[in-house]
């Protein structure tokens, strides 16, 4: 057994004329939590469904746990757990009944009580699916993924649409899986989620990986440490991007309507110079914010778009 849980080279999938995945390369190591980040339509879900053996690979090579789906389908099915982006379980089955059903599909796995405890649904064990809150439904979906005691977990947007408390509860469950040495591959468009959970992330856009690394690496490599955002709506043409770029410590300048974002190495060097420059060109300042760079900034820098537009 190699040390890779997933290896995928040149994966390409088309839906008619649309290329959903365009020569995507990916390596996920055993025991790591890996995040695929990208906007809707970037090809994350298609990639995941190919890796999960739900969609046949178009072109390219895919190896999961060192095997291919065509040779080892049933073997792999026993060893992975998944959540889909949207699954509605039967409304009138109780939590315990759903889990007993899914448990029966696997040769080996955890007991129903164990997984109910893992996702903290003890009090809802006898409640019908239709009576659960959004967060509880999603935890049940994750429980269905855990009931076969998988080596490799695929979670497609596990926390989308959930309230903050439910998200944190799920993060704990995912964190516990990682702590047990299982491999987790998740997609998300929440950057805080990726930064908090993932050992490494790949930013996907238009069906390709456009950046790869640990969240910190990516931020420092692509953006820098800090971001200075300000608005000067009345400045007009007097404020030139090339002049801003020349200020001390500025790595990049982005402009959106009357707002600017500077990615910088040292805020305390850049800000005084910026204020002086604005004063010189008579551009009245409205709103000045600085923050530590995030993966969101990485994405905007790389693609010029926000993740959740």
């Amino acid at each position: 057994m190699g040390d890779l849980a997933i290896r995928c080279r040149g994966l390409t999938r088309r839906y008619g004329e649309v290329v959903a995945v365009d020569g995507l390369d990916l390596e996920v190591r055993r025991g790591e939590c890996f995040g695929l980040l990208g906007p809707n339509g970037a090809g994350k879900t298609t990639t995941l469904e190919v890796l999960e053996g739900i969609l046949p690979p178009g072109d390219g090579e895919v190896e999961v746990l060192g095997r291919s789906w065509s040779d080892s389908g049933p073997w792999l099915r026993e060893r992975i757990g998944i959540t889909l982006q949207e699954t509605r379980l039967p409304d009138k089955l109780a939590v315990r009944e759903v889990l007993a059903l899914f448990r029966s599909f696997y040769r080996q796995g955890r007991t129903v009580d164990e997984v109910i405890r893992l996702v903290s649904l003890e009090e809802k064990a006898r409640a019908w699916y239709e009576k659960l809150s959004g967060g509880q439904k999603q935890r049940l979906a994750v429980a269905c993924a855990l009931v076969g005691d998988p080596e490799l977990l695929f979670l497609d947007e596990p926390t989308t649409g959930l309230d903050p408390q439910s998200r944190r509860q799920l993060w704990e469950v995912i964190g516990a899986m990682r702590a047990e040495g299982r491999t987790v591959l998740l997609t998300t468009h929440y950057m805080d989620e990726a930064e908090r959970l993932c050992d490494r992330v790949a930013v996907v856009d238009h069906g390709k990986v456009i950046a790869l690394g640990t969240p910190r690496e990516l931020i420092e490599r692509v953006v820098g440490h800090e971001v200075v955002e300000f608005a000067a709506p009345d400045a007009g043409a007097r404020l030139e991007e090339s002049r801003l770029q020349a200020l001390p410590g500025v790595r990049a300048v982005r402009r959106r309507n009357g707002s600017y974002a500077l990615t910088v190495e040292r805020v305390h060097l850049t800000v005084p110079a910026l204020l002086q420059h604005l004063d010189e060109v008579k551009a009245p300042l409205e709103n000045l914010v600085t923050h530590t760079a995030t993966l969101e900034d990485v994405f905007v820098t790389l693609t010029g778009r926000r993740l959740r537009d």
Partner: protein, 348 residues
Amino acid sequence: MTSEAAGRRSSLGQLTAARLRLFFREPSAVFWTFGFPLLLSLALGIAFRNRPPQPSVAAVADGAGAAAAAEALRAAGQKPLVLGLDAARAALRVGKADVVVIPGSPRTYEFDPAREDSRLARLLVDDALQRAEGRRDATAVSEAHVSEPGSRYIDFLVPGLVGLNIMSSGMWGIGYVIVETRQKKLLKRMVATPMRRSEFLLSFVLLRMLFLLLELPVLLGFGWLVFSVPLRGSLALLVAVALLGALAFAGLGLLVACRAQNIQTAGGLINLVMMPMFLLSGVFFSASHFPDVLQPFIRALPLTALNDAMRAVMIEAAGVAQVGPQLLLLAGVAAGAFALALRWFRWT
């Protein structure tokens, strides 16, 4: 290792148990499967029960002899109405009277010979009047009245309703439910587990068979208790016919479900398949009422075969040999439908 095997074996059991729970937790499904056929057979059984013979209504045109004729008819148990000639003819036209009697010599009967009630009324009225005027029978006669279970409308209806029920539970219970599972992406989710696909499909068929063993006693028991609908043939053969019918419609349900992506499409397809059989296959009235050119088509419909075989076993005490052609047809439909459905089934 033994626990592994047990786990595997129980997945068919779990799938079937889940379907069973979902069915009984859905009140409307329970009603359409059990309540509706009972209500329907009760309503139709009462509406078409055998009534005592109704008197014929004779509109007697007012004039000489009208009063005497009315008196004679009343004495014979018929219902005379003495009216002016125009009013009497109007009563005939709107169906209030079966025949118009114009006394005189010759006495005239006006009626529409295409109306069976009118032809009967003409005979009964004439007989009553002739007797009152002194006619005697050439030969003495006696009558014996017979009303036996087996020859009534309800006896025809109950096997037809059983057939209808087998068809609609198969089509909706399998076709609709599978498409709903697909539309909710639950099918996709299940296919991503090591679940055996054959077990998933088998659980539906198994459930239909289990249900049949509930539906049959309920419907037939109801018919027997309330209307004394008889079962003259072998119970085992009847169950075999019903099982084969259920299998055929399970196959058709699966076929309908094999590609449809949403429940609207599935509902439309199910109605498209069921509607011709609902009308043509002799559920509520005999299929022989349809023109001869349609008969070969009607005979080829699985519901016709099922209904004919059910009736033959229940009413005519038919044996295996007599219902052989119907059994073969049902088996053929089942085999063909399953083969095509499995080939075309869309899992993701």
